[in-house]
Symmetry: C2
Subunit: 729 residues, 2 copies
């Protein structure tokens, strides 16, 4: 609150100078342009990025201006054309600043004229898939992205346009456009809600309007952008978004995929605020929260691909959003690991002073490799709403990451899965999270939008490697209910040879307490670290507990008899996502007390060994039933089902061996775990012994209620004593 | 025959000097060793390869010698241990030559002693999956590979061992071992058949025994290796294998995957022959046939991965066999494209003079990029048994390859598919050939052998993108019958903008004439070249014709209504491979005369547009039914079924657009072909018009019976006149 007041004061002071600014003042500044122009020819990589800008601008120059009447959804012609148009304006605006060739500036003016001519005639977009429909695009979100780019273009050519013409453009086009983004229409004021919303769409809205306001020198619009429609800073606006959307660890509640998207307007607008209102000290705001967000993105990826949970597609560190985030963040914070992203993944720079700085410092060899670390990312504005933990290997010969998600719901892009794990190893996503069901911008696929199966399957609990109870999703798939709760991180520690994360969830299923603990243990006699996965379920009534492990790769073996569907196949269930899943095979293990599934992914084997009884049902699953439009990918799962009141699924997950076709070498293809024995399992303690085929044993003692102090458990005449949350012997 | 006589004479001469050779005389020679020793320190890459040899030898030194009683199949402990043992001997033998450290030589001697002690006690291997069972390994093939490596090791330490001990080793161990490989046993003389067989197993047998014979200075064994058991050169032996196994284009009848395997002993033995019997002129033999074989390998890959047809797994140019082939071939032929393979894919060199030469010339910048070319590879010893054609893009922005297979059966590794196409584009295998069903050396998967599904599914016609008739495989899956025949290449031409391959098959299905023509056309208004695929079927009786296109990627759209299996799924048939295929969806097109299927693979779209009628059935298929052991990969196909006597499946295959998630750009996601119209289709001519959504048209006139002279066809009052096989307007 103190920060907020300071900022408000700063803005009040800054506003005095608001009418006298020079242009450009958003992405570019007169000094930045001078610096870039001077730098041309000194850095081949930056030159290439500039050449790309010029080439794109030239392509725009060469093409006729077409501003079609809006008709299509994502991926369709008019959608893509309007996207292309804002890129043409953006590139031409920058090219004009860089070259002084008036043709570029004139192109921007001509396109603005074309939009100004069309815009007043537009009602809502004919595609009615969004609650906040746009005019040019099917959703206002795209309208905001359009405005962000176009504001930069307008800023670049501002001085090129005669004042009277500017006034006309602003009055007849830009202000109504901004008003629509800020307030919507009388009939549908939904945009106003979004504008003031604590959501990434809200950030796009505030950034886009705020940037336009800065170009136009409109203090009132800028204030609304920063402090919400009522300008109090209490009910909306960019500053409040920075307070609310990011946790103290820089985590964005929707997940890594949407942090990537949210950080684009966040960083870009911060850059503009710094250029226009340096007194605000936006990059230092909230203990440099934007630096923490950038660091979270550096960490929440595997081999450069953002970790998937909640709604997520396959996006990498080289996506366009991150170009802005990395360059601007480096300009502000000088973190040399950001240079490594630029160097290894992006090899491109945004055409502004920060982009040049990154190119220059990469060339100077200042980059430092991303140091991936084990860390808990707390969720919630104050960090109190659970979190997602990432456990990384510390061995140089192991490239793996294990995550346990125990966050809040994650707004509209959240999924109904508490305590889900994902596992990445050897360059592959071994235990994947499905992410979102969407074919972005492919019109034939539900117009490029999230498909129907996203809500009906991908968001449901069974789509995730966590426990579904009685065939239902967590919170029974009720968004409002799920949004009220969050899991609790019970314990997180990460040391060299042993890392642990443990979290509890008591609200997701009424009457069932869930507690999952994952242990990542670099056992000396194993080739690669072992994961011990303890999923405790406590209830007074009997339930059906389903724990699928969704995996990538090909089935190698099961250590118990199973029956595979040979000539006909049926589904796992009829609702809550179960209806989308074929049952490929099923079996029970009546011979041994540990059931093992081995599969092959890439050139490595993986084995999941679970303590089971003859009452445990094992099923091999395949996604794709009830999917009339081929919207789902045919992924596979190995599922354990137990009918019980209290039950713990205790498994080890091994990475082992090699399958190298080039030298025809197969080694260590069988699991090393012989038996998983649950010695003690009650509310206070869980003690698990793992026996290996080599004759060794390892015992894991875990305190379920209290992570500190001394613990003592007796079983079969043996006494286990330990201190702290965990002991491994 | 003249050549053969020349060689026999040469050998007779050479044999005079046979007893006085120096050691080493196989992979290494005294001069070669001196050259390598002198070169150490001058080439970092070669040094690294030598260091690897030494490291492997040191690993061997550090480990106790274990020569287990044979028990396991491929991938199992004893199998892998005996493999590792020959590597240890091989590396230690070379290390001894390179360093003069006696410990290495002694290790080889000790291991030979251990084998000599065990070997006499061995009967046939307990795993009985092979018709030519070995003693140490489950099949004699591995026994030969063992002997190839061990002969090199023995050669290296030959002078280190006292003559009496050598005599003892040879008498009690090596000669019985060679005898077993050459003759088998009285009870099971199958090895003798293989030794004289025109098959890659035969080459391993002749090479292994021939190499041992050279080390021992045993002229008789060498003669048998070169000229077969009867030493006439008429009934077996390496020279006859060179005459028979390779076509005049260097193609090996089993396919690219097995050429890679066959060329290893071929090249290695040639190297040994050159070192011991240079008078033979082995590298010039049959117009330098070994050079042609090496060139075929340079061409029959896509992005370095060998093209799959017949039995094939995923093998690349960096596989160990090719290290030998590339280095030795370069030593002999100095083709600078071989250096490119060493440089780009292998980055490793075999420890001999040829290996050093490659490393040296790569460092000297002598490598030239592989120039991929369109070419027909004729099959058969005299090139008369059909062939496989490869059509490559010539545009620098297009990386694609289209193949049409019209060969003979391909020995025991051949599949029952005539006139199959495969298509590679943009780094992906867009229309793949399944290859073999095998998990090499994974014991849990049918002991690492070809699985049962290899014969029952992967070899069957329906597993391939060609026409199955009446639900049966070509030649009804009869190996003997199929082996009698081959397809005929009717036409092959490859020019810059237009390439064509056309082939006929009249024996595969009684009473049905098959004729497939693929045209690869760089249409100026399309983003990428268009494939026109004409599959003609002629018969007097009605049949059911099934043409599946097995594809990689995700379904995007079909332009006709279809019904997808939602809650239960059934199989395509009950035998001939059909029983392994689930029917995922089916439909008919009653609205338009062209049916189009669009799918997404990598970041590109592909559309197959086929001229259909409402009687054409379309089915979407998924592999995996009746597969109790999860031996099959869940691949997908789009199948056209037509009941007819005469019928032509005429399709276009388009590559188009982009799906770039990183910049959220989707473009050109829809097919450009609007209609495929078959204007004329009879025994003499096929005329096809393709209409595009942009309003353009293109007409393909093809002469089905005569590729030369003038052709004239009238249809709908229009006259088409052209010269040669094809005309495109």
């Amino acid at each position: 609150m103190k920060k907020l007041l300071t900022t408000l004061v700063a803005l009040a002071v800054a506003s005095l100078a608001f009418g006298q600014r020079q242009h450009p003042c958003l992405l570019l500044t007169p000094d930045g342009v001078a610096e870039m122009r001077a730098a041309l020819g000194t850095n081949a990589d930056f030159d290439a990025s500039v050449a790309e800008v010029i080439a794109e601008a030239d392509r725009g120059l060469a093409e006729p201006i077409v501003v079609p009447v809006p008709k299509d959804g994502g991926g369709g012609y008019t959608h893509e054309k309007h996207k292309d148009n804002y890129y043409v304006m953006y590139y031409c605006g920058i090219a004009w600043q860089l070259t002084g060739n008036e043709a570029y500036a004139q192109k921007v003016v001509d396109m603005l004229d074309a939009y100004a001519a069309l815009y007043p005639s537009l009602g809502f977009h004919p595609v009615t898939l969004s609650k906040t429909p746009g005019r040019i695009f099917w959703q206002t979100l795209n309208e905001c992205v359009w405005l962000v780019h176009t504001s930069i273009a307008y800023d670049c050519v501002y001085d090129f346009i005669a004042p009277e013409k500017r006034e006309q453009l602003e009055k007849n086009f830009f202000r109504p456009y901004a008003d629509f983004v800020m307030n919507g229409t009388k009939e549908n004021p939904a945009n106003n809600r979004t504008f003031n919303l604590m959501h990434n769409h809200g950030t796009w809205a505030t950034a886009s309007v705020g940037m336009l306001g800065m170009v136009m020198g409109d203090e009132d619009i800028v204030k609304q952008a920063l402090y919400g429609s009522d300008k109090t800073g209490k009910n909306g606006g960019y500053i409040m978004q920075l307070d609310n959307l990011l946790s103290p660890d820089g985590y964005y509640t929707e997940g890594a995929y949407y942090l990537r998207y949210a950080i684009w307007p966040m960083m870009l607008f911060a850059h503009c605020i710094e250029n226009n209102l340096p007194e605000v000290g936006i990059f230092e705001y909230r203990d440099a929260i934007l630096s923490k967000a950038a660091n979270a993105l550096l960490q929440l990826n595997y081999n450069g691909v953002f970790m998937k949970f909640n709604d997520a597609l396959t996006k990498q560190l080289d996506c366009q959003e991150l170009l802005f985030a990395v360059d601007i963040a480096y300009g502000a914070y000088k973190n040399p690991m950001l240079l490594d992203v630029a160097q290894k993944f992006q090899k491109k720079f945004i055409p502004c002073d920060a982009g040049y700085e990154v190119a220059r410092d990469v060339a100077a060899g200042k980059a430092e490799p991303i140091k991936y670390e084990s860390k808990l990312y707390r969720d919630g504005a104050d960090g109190s709403q659970g979190g997602i933990g990432v456990i990384r290997s510390t061995r140089p010969d192991v490239n793996s990451a294990l995550t346990l998600k125990a966050t809040s719901h994650g707004l509209s892009h959240g999924h109904y899965d508490k305590l889900v794990i994902s596992y990445y190893d050897n360059g592959n996503v071994v235990l994947p999270d499905y992410g979102a069901s969407r074919f972005l911008n492919i019109e034939a696929k539900y117009k490029g939008h999230y498909t129907r199966e996203n809500k009906k399957y991908a968001m449901q609990t069974i789509a995730h490697s966590t426990v579904s109870v009685d065939g239902k999703s967590h919170f029974d798939g009720n968004y409002n209910e799920s949004s009220k709760h969050h899991s609790d991180v019970y314990h997180f520690e990460a040391v060299d040879k042993l890392s642990v994360m443990s979290a509890k969830e008591n609200a997701a299923v009424k009457g069932v307490k869930m507690h999952r603990t994952v242990i990542y243990d670099d056992v000396e006699w194993l080739q690669y670290p072992l994961i011990v996965d303890i999923f405790r379920l406590e209830s007074e009534k009997e339930h059906t507990y389903d724990l699928p492990f969704w995996y990538s790769g090909h089935m190698v073996s099961l250590n118990f008899p199973y029956t595979k569907a040979l000539t006909s196949m049926t589904t796992l269930g009829v609702d809550n996502g179960y209806q989308y899943i074929w049952v490929e095979a099923e079996g029970r293990n009546e011979q041994t007390s540990t059931s093992c599934y081995t599969f092959l992914e890439g050139d490595r084997f993986y084995s999941i060994s679970t303590a089971t009884t003859p009452t445990t049902e094992m099923k091999m699953l395949r996604l794709g039933a009830n999917d009339p439009d081929y919207n789902l990918r045919p992924e596979g799962a190995y599922m354990l089902r137990q009918k019980a009141a209290n039950h713990s699924f205790v498994s080890t997950i091994e990475s082992h061996g090699v399958y190298n076709l080039q030298v025809e070498k197969t080694a260590n293809a069988k699991a090393s775990v012989k038996e998983v024995v649950v010695l003690v399992d009650n509310a206070k303690y869980t003690v698990v012994r793992v026996d290996f085929v080599g004759g060794q044993s390892r015992t894991y003692c875990f305190a379920n209620e209290q992570t500190e102090g001394k613990h003592k458990v007796q079983v079969d005449g043996k006494t286990y004593v330990w201190e702290g949350a965990i002991s491994v012997k």
